[in-house]
Amino acid sequence: MAVCIAVIAKENYPLYIRSVPTENELKFHYTVHTSLDVVDEKISAMGKALVDQRELYLGLLYPTEDYKVYLCHSFGQAIVGYGYVTNSKVKFVMVVDSSNTALRDNEIRSMFRKLHNSYTDIMCNPFYNPGDRIHSRAFDTMVNSMMMQVC
């Protein structure tokens, strides 16, 4: 289940962060922030590869073991992060709780696809200036559904 979903702008500031458990929210924010380094690393590693859907999806960001260790202390559960970067370098980071059966890769991909679609819908809105915080209710609804459903 997605416990935290974040949309990070190209300049690495958050456009949107939403977490499920209201406690530990700061921890999630921190997690997302640290994951940005990993995302950047992966992006640079890609080099000049053509960016298509597959490579938009960065997959598992953290080595599971380390992350588990880290998080066991604080969360008491294994939490992994997944990343996804769009063509315009907008990053989606999703922190999921893998205490249950880990979500399959496909499910994560589909979640990111949905996120991306909602994000593009926001972009279509002429009143949205790229770089603004995202206040769209439709986006909120979609993110909530993702967080609830997986839970």
Partner: protein, 772 residues
């Protein structure tokens, strides 16, 4: 505390009241403040109120639970009817009228004023009451408006003659929800209105038909207030409670809560009402106004308003960007970054609603969905089943169906005057006008083909529109017709003329073409514009490709094959290149049918060979194509790509069996001769125009890349359309372009011109193959 039994009307009424008092939406406890307000509105002496509270057990409990509340209400009724307050009287008194709650004083005054206005003039008076949009003033106005409305109703309703005292209209509680509207039910009977938003809906005390709720529908400013049919209102007035309008806070949560409360009451009301109007329905005059506004931005009603234009338009309404953003999200149904007419009307409607203080719904109300927000619906007054426009917002109905133009006109001018920019919506740049042109030109089908193909009027969402707008602007800069379609048809007649005057004209054209190409080259900006323009031109009008090249077949072929530079329209940019190449292809088609043509091409100076080929080729198909092309030529440029091939194909098949006649032969030969005639001009100019040719080659390359890009775009976009032939066509066009590119590469050698020709010829050939 003993239980209390309530009649159905009482039950409903009390439930509504409870919901109203249930500010925290607990559904269990009525907020004390509200309850006290309510009791004060009952105009009972204070000690009676205290007594009631004690009796119902609220003092004991410290809060008003639902049962306490109901008991209290009943006691209020008892007290108001003059009976002594006794617990026993709760159940023993029969036919107790519903408790009455009086509205505050200022509202009464406004009500009175409303009373005196004549029915016919009411709209005017109402509009006078309703100030223009700025948020904030909404409260008072709405309240007064509603009071007026209610007053009217009550005044006309003889049964409610006591209404001035009785019906406690209160301005709706807080900032939003001030959509009041009087609904006119031609069906007579009840004046029933859907719940007017956030405020509680009180079942009027009216002793007449307590079970009928007289609902208020709040109207946006520009709506007309309907006069209820005299004597028709057997329904009771919904009464807005809430004495003092709650603080004008833009507290959406609060209003949402209230809205939820009102929604429940509204639901109940709806259940009771026999007919119900969708609060979000758009009336005729509203829709007409929206349509007119749409036209100022986008004259073609089937066209789209691009996002940027819509943004500017709605920004003038001075709503906060966040709300406009939400309105956009709601109304842009297909999420394409542009608004169709329906979407625009929905968005406008929501803007108006918001300006009048209504909360925005979470979801687009069904009546605003861009399917059939039709006038036909709006004409059905009182026939709607309850539409829940409520999803969390003031489900105030938009103006009632029965339009009354004068009031609308009155309100709108006020609206316009008050808002600074509101009346200048139509300041949309002329680019949108041209945008329309573009679209409308695509729309008409070629009468000759009689097959309407799905013309992709919209390509990629905003980008194309933006480009189109830019295109129009730049096009206008060049004093050219902005619509590619306009351009092309104009080209076609030129071609016709050219075909008629064979040689020298062609020659001239060629040289002209060259010179123009030179001038063209000298203007890089033009090229850039041309590229973008062509992008768009071609994207939507790829069908014109066939048309144009077909046209070229006849006449253009004459001028084009060597004439790399485009037509006299420099702004056409690569467009003419396309045409050109197409023409060349057409030429090639003639030639390619007999394979020996291509080897002959390098000797394009060898016109005798050419002519020989022309004579020998005598391919019926080509002739047919030419003929059909000429037909198409007449058709003027909107023939879809796919349909034209079909007739040709048919023709071809039929002709294949028949075998050409001599006359066709000669006809074709004549055309070919015309083409050949143009050829002489080529070698003449080869030497000095080598540069020009190279320039044109360069341009051709640009065209190719653009075409390739367009092609891929189009393919994607057209997937949804999925006329099979069209997609196949597109794919082949892609092949064409690639092949052309290869050939262009080859043409870098000594046989530059030949190579170029070869390239164009092959392109035309393949295009022809595509088509037939």
């Amino acid at each position: 505390m003993e239980g209390v039994t309530l009649s159905e009307a009482e039950q409903r009424y009390y439930c509504d009241l409870f919901s109203y008092c249930d500010t925290e939406s607990t559904k269990k406890v009525a907020s004390n403040g509200r309850v006290l307000e309510l009791f004060r509105a009952a105009q009972l002496p204070n000690d009676v109120v205290m007594q009631i509270m004690e009796l119902c057990g609220a003092t004991r409990l410290g809060y008003f639970g639902r049962s306490q509340f109901y008991i209290a209400l009943k006691l209020v009724a008892v007290a108001q009817s003059g009976l002594p307050l006794r617990v026993e009287s709760l159940n023993t008194v029969k036919d107790l009228p519903l408790p009455r709650f009086v509205v505050s004083k200022n509202e009464q005054e406004s009500r009175h004023t409303a009373l005196y206005s004549s029915d016919a003039d009411n709209p005017a008076s109402y509009s006078g009451v309703i100030p223009p949009p700025p948020p904030g003033r909404i409260q008072v106005k709405k309240g007064s408006v509603s009071h007026d409305a209610v007053q009217q109703r009550t005044s006309t309703d003889q049964q409610e003659s006591t209404s001035p005292v009785v019906s406690p209209q209160q301005s709706p509680p807080s900032s939003p929800h001030t959509w009041r509207k009087h609904n006119r039910h031609p069906s007579g009977g009840n004046n029933e209105r859907p719940l007017a938003g956030p405020g509680p809906v009180w079942a009027p005390f009216s002793e007449v038909q307590p079970d009928q709720y007289y609902k208020l529908i709040l109207i946006p400013v520009q709506d007309v207030f309907e006069k209820p049919k005299p004597g028709s209102s057997t329904s009771s007035d919904p009464i807005w409670s809430g004495h003092s309008p709650p603080p004008h806070q833009e507290n959406w949560d609060q209003t949402t809560v209230r809205t939820v409360a009102s929604a429940t009451t509204a639901n109940e009301i709806r259940r009771q009402s026999s007919s119900y109007d969708d609060p979000w329905k758009i009336t005729d005059e509203q829709r007409q106004y929206y349509v007119n506004q749409f036209k100022t931005i986008q004259p073609d009603l089937n066209g789209f308003i691009p996002g940027s234009a819509a943004k500017e338009f709605f920004t003038k309404s001075k709503l906060p960007i966040l709300e406009l953003s939400h309105i956009w999200e709601l109304s842009d149904f297909d999420k394409d970054g542009a608004l169709t007419l329906d979407e625009f009307c929905a968005a406008f409607h929501l803007v108006v609603a918001r300006k009048n203080g209504y909360d925005l719904p979470e979801k687009l109300p069904e009546s605003l969905m861009p399917k059939l927000i039709d006038l036909e619906d709006s004409t059905e007054v009182g026939e709607q089943t309850g539409e829940v426009g409520y999803s969390g917002s003031p489900a105030e109905a938009p103006p009632s169906k029965s339009p009354s133009m004068p009031s609308l006109n009155q309100t709108w001018p006020e609206l316009n005057q008050s808002s600074e920019q509101w009346e200048t919506f139509s300041e949309r740049s002329s680019s949108s006008q041209t945008l329309t042109q573009f679209d409308s030109n695509i729309a008409p089908a070629d009468p000759d083909t009689a097959i309407v193909h799905p013309v992709p009027i919209r390509m990629t969402p905003s980008k194309i529109h933006m480009q189109e707008m830019e295109l129009k602007r730049t096009g206008s800069d060049h004093a050219n017709p902005t619509s590619p379609l306009l351009v092309k048809p104009s080209d076609l007649p030129e071609e016709n003329k050219m075909s008629s005057s064979v040689k020298f004209t062609a020659g001239n054209t060629v040289t002209d073409g060259y010179s123009s190409s030179d001038s063209y080259t000298s203007d890089p900006e033009q090229i850039g514009n041309a590229v973008t323009r062509q992008r768009i031109n071609i994207s939507c009008a790829i069908n014109h490709l066939t048309i144009s090249f077909r046209g070229q077949q006849q006449a253009g072929v004459v001028a084009y094959p060597p004439a790399v530079p485009p037509r006299p329209q420099p702004s056409q940019g690569t467009g003419p290149h396309v045409h050109r190449s197409v023409d060349a292809d057409g030429l090639i088609a003639h030639t390619s049918t007999s394979p020996q043509q291509i080897p002959e091409q390098p000797n394009f100076a060898d016109f005798s060979q050419f002519e020989a080929f022309a004579v020998s080729s005598v391919n019926k198909e080509e002739e047919d194509e030419i003929e059909t092309h000429s037909e198409v030529l007449q058709g003027k440029g909107t023939t879809p790509l796919a349909p034209p091939p079909k007739p040709i194909r048919r023709r071809l098949k039929s002709e294949d069996e028949l075998r050409p006649e001599a006359e066709e032969h000669t006809q074709k030969t004549g055309v070919i001769a015309a083409v050949l005639a143009s050829q002489p001009s080529i070698p003449r100019s080869v030497g000095k125009d080598k540069k020009a040719i190279q320039a044109s080659i360069r341009r051709n390359k640009e065209t190719n890349t653009v075409l390739a890009r367009l092609n891929s775009e189009l393919q994607q976009q057209l997937k949804s359309f999925n006329p099979l032939s069209f997609t196949v066509l597109m794919k082949e066009l892609g092949h064409l372009i690639r092949r052309n590119q290869e050939i262009i590469e080859e043409s870098k050698g000594p046989f530059a011109v030949e190579g170029y020709l070869k390239g164009t010829y092959s392109l035309v050939y393949s295009a022809l193959c595509l088509s037939g």
